[in-house]
């Protein structure tokens, strides 16, 4: 062994799976962000130690990160008024509202809940201590980047037994080019409390840069949390969303993710079921078109016995779009009587669209029920012709088949107004004239 080879080997041992060029780009980005945001990002707990993801890291194999190595500017626009967007993107929605524009809280556009049992404030105005970093920040470079640079977000604390009377909408809007928007939402739901959350991301057509949102949800014993998450961003954004959800005994958490539009989107949704009798639901749909990219990585970690998890992700890929689905389910040795279900269905509309789908089940307990299924197919031509032969237009026939394919996921969104707006936006994006609402026959 020569004297020159040795330090390289040692370096690899210290930082496994590093791609040097990518690492340098990541570090350059970090330095640029430190300069841009004067002062933040220096005291990053894990950032130094983590490898920047690249193609030879399994979790990022089909998820290109090159688009992040770009130039960023300090945002000029920080209010709904200046951005010219809606404070509430959902017509008719009666909800509390927390609005952020380019990563900055907009108090004039917001409507916070005022209630003895609820503490809800932007992090910049909150006096409670910040939450400690979790597993995600310790293992994922982009999550650690969020920890280093996110100085704003929502801090929500719902006290024991309180049921929030309206949904709480967190709306983030990106306006203009070269944004670097970081938000972290810290949500604590005490025992037997209940809350419905909506996370809605929008952007204007000139928007570019990155959005990096980290959400922590701690659900204490017996609590119920529903999160409806919608991504409808015009422009050319790179959108990263991390969620870490920790469930204590007898909790129910339902997360629905709908990706309507977005140049590059990665959802990294993680459930940890820590107490017995938990129920977790994670459903999602994605309908990318053009050259959009949508990635859903999910992990359900069954750490306790007698829990159920149910997962369904449905994707329809148009144009030259591509997608990734990766669904991990861990069942730990003591998590007996687990009932875990996972389903992922994909339709490739054109021969240029692409999906990389991978269910991953690791089961270490012996008395469990786990099932999973994954399909990749095309629109049923026979069904389309049958519908057309009845006088239904091709566009409407396709809308019907889409509705049939993602209808179950859509129906699961907790807030009806969100569901209706999703249908409306899908119909607008894809040029369907109508969306058939259900009609009960007498």
């Amino acid at each position: 062994m020569t004297g020159m080879a040795k330090p390289i080997v040692m370096d690899l041992e210290r930082k496994p799976n590093i791609h040097l060029a990518t690492q340098a780009k990541g570090e350059a980005l970090r330095a640029a962000l430190v300069a841009l945001r004067s002062g933040t990002g220096l005291a990053a707990e894990y950032l130094d130690a983590l490898p920047v993801p690249h193609r030879r890291v399994e979790r990022w194999k089909h998820t290109p990160v090159a688009g992040f190595w770009s130039t960023y500017e300090a945002p000029q626009v920080q209010t709904v008024l200046a951005a010219g967007c809606e404070a509430c993107p959902v017509p008719g929605l009666h909800a509390y509202r927390m609005v952020f524009v380019n990563g900055t809280f907009d108090p004039a556009a917001s409507d916070l809940p005022v209630h003895n049992g609820v503490q809800c404030a932007p992090i910049s105005m909150s006096d409670s201590p910040p939450r400690e970093a979790g597993d995600l920040e310790a293992t994922e470079w982009f999550a650690a980047l969020n920890q280093a640079f996110a100085i704003e977000g929502m801090r929500l604390h719902i006290k024991k037994g309180v049921v929030l009377d309206r949904p709480l909408l967190v709306h983030h809007h990106t306006h203009g080019p070269n944004s670097a928007n970081f938000l972290r939402h810290e949500i604590t739901v005490e025992a037997n409390a209940q809350v419905q959350l909506i996370h809605w991301s929008t952007a204007d057509s000139q928007a570019s840069g990155m959005v990096n949102i980290m959400t922590h949800i701690e659900a204490a014993t017996g609590s119920h949390v529903a999160l409806d998450k919608v991504q409808d961003e015009a422009g050319k954004l790179h959108h990263l969303a991390f969620e870490q959800i920790n469930q204590a005994q007898s909790t129910q958490v339902r997360v629905h993710t709908g990706t309507i539009q977005g140049q590059w989107v990665r959802n990294d949704l993680n459930f940890r079921l820590d107490g017995e009798g938990c129920d977790s639901v994670l459903n999602g749909f994605f309908l990318p078109s053009g050259n959009e990219f949508v990635d859903n990585h999910t992990t359900v970690d069954h750490c306790a016995a007698n829990c159920t998890s149910s997962e369904q992700y449905q994707g329809i890929l148009y144009g030259s779009s591509s997608g990734v689905f990766n669904g991990k389910v861990f069942v730990r040795p003591n998590a007996q009587q687990t009932n875990a279900y996972q389903q992922n269905g994909n339709i490739l509309v054109t021969d240029k669209s692409k999906i990389n789908a991978k269910p991953e089940l690791e089961i270490y307990a012996d008395d469990v029920k786990c099932s999973h299924g994954c399909t990749i197919g095309q629109f049923d031509e026979e069904a389309l012709f049958y519908a057309r032969s009845r006088g239904i237009s091709e566009a409407e026939a396709k809308a019907m088949l889409v509705n049939a394919f993602i209808g179950d996921v859509l129906d699961g969104f907790a807030v009806p107004e969100v569901r209706m707006e999703l249908e409306h936006r899908l119909a607008t994006k894809h040029g369907w004239d109508t969306w058939n609402d259900t009609l009960e026959a007498g």
Binding site: S389, R390, I392, E396, M400, A404, T438, L439
Partner: protein, 250 residues
């Protein structure tokens, strides 16, 4: 109403219809019989506008309009209906929503407003009694898990809902037991009128005992080789198709 002249159609490089002529006047019921592979189902598909088949020549006039120039949706909205030999299952789309979209497509074509929910439901009730289609099937996904007989009754129910001017029934009798056949046939007979024409494609004479045709044509190798009245069907049942092949070749 329908005038088919020298119609030629193929799948890929294989010619199936080789110069077919047929004129159907308002109110008439024509039956087309023929051996396997003669082109019966191809004729039905070409009339309904299935892109899988390439029309190589000839014309089809439908009440003064060039049928071949319209896509499948326009043909249906203009009053053509095809009852499928193998009705298609569409999981997740309810029969009732499917029919409402079809009705509203036709109404849009006629410049009418979408049908009101209440009117639609009473129409469904009226038309489904025609083929004894029970309410359970109306609310299920289109044809999903239906028996063979239920699928065919659903076809006739759809036809009754859409009230076409010209209906093509493609082997509607296949897979039916005698009771289902009687129900389907009486549904069709209830719809016979001086303004409405039918083209009944069948392999067997049996259906024609119930739906009595004005004319019977024999299709062999992509052409109509013989035409007659309902007695021709009985003769075919009795003697098979071989004698026609011999007679027409000779």
């Amino acid at each position: 109403m329908v005038n088919i002249k020298e119609l030629q159609a193929s799948i890929g490089d294989t010619p199936i219809l080789k110069g077919l002529n047929l004129e159907i006047k308002p109110g008439e019921v024509h039956a087309i019989m023929g051996p396997n592979g003669a082109g019966k189902s191809t004729l039905a598909s070409v009339l309904a506008g299935r892109e899988h088949y390439a029309v190589k020549g000839g014309s089809v006039d439908f009440d003064g309009q060039d049928l071949l120039d319209m896509d499948a949706t326009e043909r249906a909205r203009s009053g053509l209906f095809l009852a499928f030999q193998y009705p298609v299952e569409i999981p997740g789309v309810s029969n009732i929503n499917f029919m409402r979209a079809a009705i509203n497509g036709k109404r849009e074509h006629q410049g009418l407003e979408p049908i009101k929910g209440k009117d639609f439901l009473s129409l469904v009730k009226e038309k489904s009694s025609l083929v004894e289609l029970d309410g359970r099937l109306r609310n299920r996904s289109v044809n999903e898990g239906f028996s063979g007989g239920e699928k065919k009754r659903n076809e006739i129910f759809q036809m009754a809902m859409l009230e076409p001017r010209f209906a093509v029934l493609d082997e509607t009798d296949s897979g039916l037991d005698i009771d289902a056949l009687r129900i389907v046939a009486s549904g069709v007979n209830a719809m016979r009128s001086p303004e409405r024409s039918f083209l009944v494609i069948t392999h067997y004479q049996r259906l024609l005992d119930y739906i009595v045709p004005d004319f019977v044509h024999v299709l062999v190798d992509g052409k109509i080789v013989m035409s007659g009245d309902k007695d021709l069907a009985l003769k075919l049942e009795d003697k098979g198709y071989d004698w026609i092949k011999e007679e027409t070749i000779a």
